[in-house]
Subunit: 284 residues, 2 copies
DNA sequence: CGCTCTCATACCCGGCGGGTATCACAGCGG
DNA sequence: CCGCTGTGATACCCGCCGGGTATGAGAGCG
């Protein structure tokens, strides 16, 4: 019948990644024949062929590609479900929330939100978990966090629900000694392609960087250091001013897109505590 | 270990719904003892107790509530994954798309979108599937449709990604013979609480209706009929004008919230065809 | 033509998911 | 106070299925 099992999906994903039954079996810690059989069984159940095994190797069919993606989502979801359940049990209970946030971003706003929320009658205890650059989305998706501070349009918000909290412009952060630091405003064209000061590069979702001359940034303290040393410029949202050093200068950009800080949570969350926090955020 | 299995989750959900092991076992078509054992095993695996079994009945623990919700999402996801995989295989392939749309809404816009998309080099064939009121979301979630026309803020878009297509005001649709039909504009206050003409009521997500004097609407043809008969008024987005009868009159509302028609698709979709359609929609 | 590398097939075994019988316990009516 | 009823838990057995090993069947290749 219809009754997919996660074990089969785990097997399938491994084979689809390796495109090689023996290697996949090895990675799974089982022998090759049972793996072949499991995949055949899955194909029979779905009534669909997932791999083309012709001479010279195994390839995914169209349906296989679809299932590969679906299966990954499901497996991640299962791991998240387990984690959320464990967290709900282990002391934390529904009376405790974990909020993930960018390491260096907007403690003012967060403080205000937490203060407003704490005033609610049945407010949960909120644990704030600063995390690396694009890490919040993963935290939410895999169940380690209940809610997160993120930024549109930078962060990938797919599959998350959001509540806008604050919209603001961006500023260029440059060394205080740089000639442009004295200007009242700048344009993107001004900061892009300064021969002496390449624009810093952020990691994309997958952790890679697009090519360019600027340094590859891993976290804010590193960026701050590099700017102070006069080695790079960065473009950040205006509230980044809160953590600037003396050696930094922030100049508003007139033509950069606006950045909206949002509170984000997994689309299917039904936690009362999250709902309360969102209500508080909506009222800011 | 960590290795949840869907069979266990199915069992768990059934017990959680029945709050009674014997009845749950009956519904599952197995005997009670294996079911008890399966649940115990699940609890052991998670290291969490999911039910309180004291004298007089079984109740969910906090962690149990969390897992119940997570498990339902996962099981729905698994069913959707199977459906999507089968659809991807059965002829349709990635070269075919199913678009769900409200029965009577905005064929103009849809025609334009389909025309623009069809002009793309590798456009897929699009099958349009008109469906009942709030049905599109379910269609997307359970894998029967790839993409849908929906409306904000009416439809529940949780867990879906969207591309705005058109924003417009709302109009009151009333019998052509009604005194207010001659007015240039109306306000919400005008149409709410007309003694002779109660406002039509739409189903909510769960299929229930909020209380009120007006008739409970199931589909547009029914609504059109009732308005023509002079039995009700409705508030709809401006593009509803396309399907009006002679016996209807549409009068713009000045103070009703704007309605945005959006193209929506499951948050994790990676289909090239969907992406193409979204691109076409973005360019409208 | 064999050698090798693939995945599929054939076959066997042990564990686990399923069943039946029974227990332990709580409420309850006599 | 005592069975009776109905709950979930325990004990035990069985058959199937997931796992293993050995081998087959093609395809490339020296």
């Amino acid at each position: 019948m219809d009754t997919l099992e996660l074990r089969e999906l785990r097997y399938f994903v491994t084979v689809a990644e390796e495109l090689h039954f023996s290697r996949a079996a090895q990675r799974l810690g089982i022998a090759q024949p049972p793996l072949s059989r499991a995949i055949q069984q899955l194909e029979r159940r779905l009534g669909v062929s997932l791999f083309d095994r012709d001479r010279r190797g195994v390839t995914l069919t169209g349906a296989g590609e679809v299932l590969l993606h679906e299966a990954r989502v499901l497996l991640d979801g299962a791991a998240a479900a387990a984690r959320r359940t464990r967290r709900a049990a282990s002391g934390s209970g529904p009376r405790r929330l974990t909020l993930a946030t960018k390491a260096g971003a907007n403690h003012e706003l967060l403080r205000k939100l937490l203060a407003v929320y704490a005033a609610e009658p049945d407010a949960a205890e909120v644990e704030v978990l600063p995390c690396a650059m694009g890490e919040q989305a993963r935290m939410l998706r895999d169940g380690r966090a209940d809610v997160a501070f993120m930024q549109r349009p930078f962060d990938a918000l797919t599959g998350l629900d959001t509540q806008d909290v604050l919209t603001e412009g961006q500023v260029a952060i440059l060394p205080a000694t740089h000639p442009l630091a004295a200007r009242e405003t700048l344009t993107m064209a001004d900061v892009r392609g300064l021969p002496d000061l390449p624009l810093a590069r952020w990691p994309r979702q997958d952790g890679t960087y697009d090519p360019g001359p600027g340094p590859e940034i891993k976290d804010l303290s590193q960026l701050a250091q590099l700017i102070a040393l006069g080695q790079t410029v960065a473009v950040l949202c205006a509230s980044s001013r809160t953590w600037l050093w003396n050696a930094h200068a922030a100049v508003p950009l007139t033509d950069s897109p606006e950045v909206t800080t949002v509170l984000a949570w997994p689309a299917h969350s039904r936690s009362r505590a999250v709902a309360g926090l969102v209500r508080a955020a909506a009222g800011l």
